[in-house]
């Protein structure tokens, strides 16, 4: 018994290791949150389960690479790049919505799944055509390349930026969602798009805007993650399922839920790796399955009557 505990939980005696895992878990949660909140926003309004959301995240990373090269040498290039990459992906999302997605809002859900899955295939090939099959590295901004000591343990400065960005975006989303007219419209559209249209709102435009905002969030996450992981094929397919886990666990359409579920999933991964490296990710899927079984509307979502 003692040996079992020592083997699997020995790391608990090392506070700096625990802290490290905790912090890197939080940083991981930020990426997940950015991706999942966009996915959740789009689902909440359009009821479309967008498999291509992971592809948009991947494009965020590739655009980060491209914009950094275009901007090379200009002051504040990294920050401008973050904005431009997000905007580019937002426009991509808008184009997809206007040309394709809006044709199938009322179709059988199977065609919606199929269409967004088709996007995954097409976009991954387009990325390969433009950027090749090898990973593209994006340099960290000079000021953030090092690490800082937190309670005596070194922690990458860049991840602090990620945490700050995640919290900042979360705050902005909250304000936009609950304190602006646009946010009210979005919340109304989640209840009934027909009623909103009957009241004279330009619903198709609202849907396009929602798609753009959601896609922009995925793009931002991709641009932020690029300096850590390099932009590469395959990052689309791996993030999307985790984002689904987050969205389902948190409750489709709930930002608070997405935030807390991101934290839960990321920390499960961070600490699960220390205990049972082989099955840490299974834990996340199990959590998703259990939540779906007992509270299909998610931990923080609202039950649909």
């Amino acid at each position: 018994m003692i040996r079992f505990l020592a083997e699997y939980f020995g790391w608990l005696t090392d506070p700096s290791l625990v802290l490290m895992q905790l912090l890197s878990g939080i940083a991981g949660a930020m990426f997940l949150f950015l991706v999942a909140s966009g996915l959740s926003l789009i689902f909440g309004v359009s009821r479309i389960v967008n498999f291509a959301h992971g592809s948009l995240y991947m494009f965020g990373a590739y655009f980060a690479y491209t914009w950094i090269r275009v901007l090379a040498g200009s002051p504040g290039q990294f920050w401008i790049m973050l904005i431009l990459a997000s905007l580019t992906v937002a426009v991509m999302g808008g184009v997809l919505e206007v040309i394709f997605v809006r044709r199938i809002y009322r179709a059988d859900p199977i065609f919606q799944l199929l269409l967004t899955f088709a996007f995954v295939l097409v976009l991954s090939d387009i990325a390969k055509i433009f950027w090749g099959a090898e990973g593209k590295a994006v340099p960290k901004p000079g000021a953030l390349a090092g690490s800082v000591k937190i309670f005596g343990a070194p922690f990458p400065t860049y991840l602090l930026l990620v945490v700050a960005a995640g919290l900042g975006v979360g705050l902005i989303l909250w304000i936009v969602f609950y304190r602006t007219r646009w946010g009210r419209l979005v919340r109304a559209a989640r209840h009934s798009r027909d009623m909103l249209a009957a009241l004279g709102s330009d619903v198709p435009r609202l849907f396009t805007e929602v798609f753009m905002v959601g896609s922009g969030l995925a793009g931002l996450a991709g641009a932020l993650v690029a300096p850590i992981v390099t932009a590469a094929p395959g990052m689309d397919a791996s993030i999307i399922i985790e984002a689904f886990v987050v969205v389902v666990v948190g409750g489709l359409g709930s930002f608070l839920g997405a935030a807390l579920a991101s934290l839960l999933v990321a920390e499960l991964k961070a600490f699960g790796t220390l205990v049972f490296p082989a099955i840490s990710i299974v834990l996340a899927y199990l959590v998703m399955a259990v939540v779906l079984i007992f509270r299909p509307w998610g931990l923080f979502g609202r039950r649909e009557e």
């Binding site: 199938i104 065609f111 199929l114 088709a118 397919a237």
Partner: protein, 601 residues
């Protein structure tokens, strides 16, 4: 058309199940497939094997997608479980190949039983997400448990040398298994079970109110689909000699959906056509470009947006639309003559006829602060036509929905012949011979009028789990009788969603009568009808009720209709009972007049 039908009848059910075109297409495909190794280079037998595996995989998924209306995005899990289970038994446990071949699909069915138990409780998107989660769990296990499954290097060496002799023998063996499975599933989708699954696809609520335990049937469909996917997995494992985790990766879940939709998910052979088309495209396009996924994605976009009926549906449209029922959907031949419907004799009805059929005690339902039904007590006597009236929002429909278990009551009880039914699920309540119709007509819109009534009869006869007998051969006389009774025998082959509003209402009545009800609950049977039509349709109900000795409870807000038909009237107002009595009593009641004149009491 009538003669046409009788011709079909003479040919018998088997010929109807296998009309000549189906036989020709089936045999042609089989012959062609059998000739493949002889006429084209050996390489193509591998391609053909791939196509067969994918076709079987697609057919099994389509039991859920096309026939039951369940969008599973995790069906590759069962290919994985089947293939890995057979492979591991063969490699690691030393089980003979033949036994492993059988045990693989059994393992897949068991996995489907476990996962499906939870999944069928969810609807639409949530069901898709949960099946996906289960598939990812299977994926992670085979990917990470290297010591057992070989992880990403795959499970290799699945070559049962003693039984199979090279690719050609392999090919014929796979062909035989796939053909048998395809035949078995064909029999299944045309059986009572198959028709019940179609009913669930069209309208789960209506199906449940035919007395079918919908969840149980969905679960059974899920397990059967998992079993056949498991067979595809075993063929895959033994024909390739290996299993890899990527067969279970989430993107693999799209393959069967893709071939089913591509070929046409509402045609039995849709997934087969889709699989042939898809694999050939992969092969041909793959020769010219490495960007196959791009092409595939483009095809999918095209299909999803412009050809939702798939290739088969597209061809049918070219040949002149689908307004008529397809041969397979056509009604069984109408008997030349049949005795008029007799009232079922098996009712335990006492002679005095003054027994209480239904007793409602202090029933309550609150929605937030709204007391929709606020302590209603009510008694319905045998053989009476009993009306519940009241202005809009009086709580009539809420009360009705609680009687059949469609809504859970907050408090109170309902007794049917003295037996409490308030805690029973709708299908059990319907099964105790209470039938109902809905305010908003609830029928199986994508099926013909004949099929609507037929399925209701199959449910009544507890035949819905029969997966062998062709449904069209069952209950022929009774189906025609009921259609005749409500005046719809001329429209038997019409897709019911295209019937006029009044005809749809009458069809729903026939569905309700198919249950041999003792008590018939009609929620606004005349909603949306013209005044003249209203009277006629209530008279029809009354005539049938007298003929068959039914007790009828109906809601209505047209006073003329009520007074012309009801023996007893209960007036509801703001969730409570305002008055209860015979038509004369009610007519002269001051409070009732006030409510209907809009003066507050």
């Amino acid at each position: 058309m009538g003669e046409d039908r009788q011709a079909v009848a003479r040919g018998g059910v088997v010929r109807e199940l296998f009309p000549r075109p189906t036989i020709l297409v089936g045999l042609g495909t089989l012959l062609f497939a059998a000739a493949v190794p002889g006429v084209i280079p050996i390489f193509y037998t591998f391609l053909a094997t791939d196509i067969m595996i994918l076709a079987l995989f697609g057919l099994s998924l389509n039991l859920l997608l096309g026939y039951t209306g369940m969008v599973s995005f995790g069906h590759a899990a069962y290919v994985g479980v089947g293939g890995y289970a057979a492979g591991l038994l063969f490699l690691r446990a030393g089980v003979p190949a033949a036994a492993a071949y059988l045990l693989g699909p059994v393992a897949a069915a068991l996995a489907a039983m476990l996962f499906g138990f939870f999944a069928v409780r969810l609807s639409a998107v949530y069901f898709a997400m949960l099946t996906l989660a289960f598939q990812m769990i299977v994926y992670t296990i085979v990917f990470k448990w290297r010591s057992l499954t070989g992880g990403e290097d795959g499970l290799r060496g699945l070559r049962p040398a003693e039984s199979l002799q090279g690719p050609i023998a392999d090919y014929y063996w796979s062909l035989g298994v796939v053909a048998l499975c395809a035949l078995a599933m064909y029999v299944l989708v045309n059986s009572s079970l198959g028709y019940t699954l179609r009913a669930i696809r069209e309208n789960p609520v209506r199906t449940q109110h035919m007395g079918v335990n919908v969840r149980l049937h969905q679960w059974i469909a899920f397990v059967i689909a998992g079993f056949f996917a498991g067979i595809a997995g075993v063929i895959l494992a033994f024909s390739k000699g290996s299993m890899f985790p990527e067969y279970v990766y989430w993107t693999a879940a799209a393959d069967p959906i893709l071939v089913a939709v591509l070929g046409g998910m509402h045609a039995y052979l849709g997934p087969v056509v889709g699989a042939v088309f898809y694999r050939l495209m992969v092969y041909l396009v793959g020769r010219y470009t490495e960007y196959w996924p791009l092409v595939e994605g483009a095809i999918l976009v095209l299909v999803a947006i412009t050809m939702p009926q798939g290739i088969i549906g597209f061809l049918q449209r070219l040949r002149g639309g689908r307004a008529r029922a397809t041969p397979a959907a056509r009604a069984a031949g109408r008997p030349e003559a049949f005795a008029p419907r007799r009232a079922p004799q098996s009712r335990s009805r006492p002679a005095d006829g003054r027994k209480e059929v239904l007793r409602v005690v202090e029933l309550r339902k609150h929605f937030g602060g709204v007391r929709a039904v606020d302590g209603v007590s009510l008694s319905v006597e045998e053989g009476k036509v009993h009306a519940i009236i009241g202005p809009n929002g009086a709580g009539k429909s809420t009360l009705f929905n609680m009687l059949t278990g469609y809504l859970q009551s907050d408090a109170g009880q309902v007794f049917f012949y003295g037996r409490e039914i308030s805690q029973l699920p709708p299908h059990a309540i319907i099964g105790s011979r209470i039938s109902r119709t809905f305010q908003i007509t609830s029928i199986l819109k994508g099926l013909t009028a004949y099929e609507n009534v037929l399925i209701a009869l199959l449910a009544r006869r507890r035949r819905t789990l029969d997966c062998l007998t062709p449904a069209k051969g069952l209950a022929v006389e009774d189906t025609w009788r009921l259609l005749e009774l409500v005046g719809l025998s001329g429209q038997a082959d019409q897709i019911s969603g295209f019937l006029s509003h009044g005809d749809q209402k009458r069809l729903e009545l026939a569905i309700a009568l198919a249950n041999d009800p003792v008590l018939l609950l009609l929620d606004e049977p005349t909603a949306g009808m013209a005044p003249q039509e209203r009277l006629e349709s209530v008279q029809l109900v009354k005539r049938i009720a007298r003929q068959e000795g039914l007790t009828v409870l109906f809601t209505e807000h047209d006073m003329d209709v009520v007074f012309s038909a009801a023996d007893r009237i209960t007036v509801m107002h703001q969730g409570r009972i305002l008055a209860d009595g015979g038509p004369e009593e009610i007519r002269s009641d001051d409070r009732v007049q006030k409510v209907y004149l809009g003066v507050s009491v």
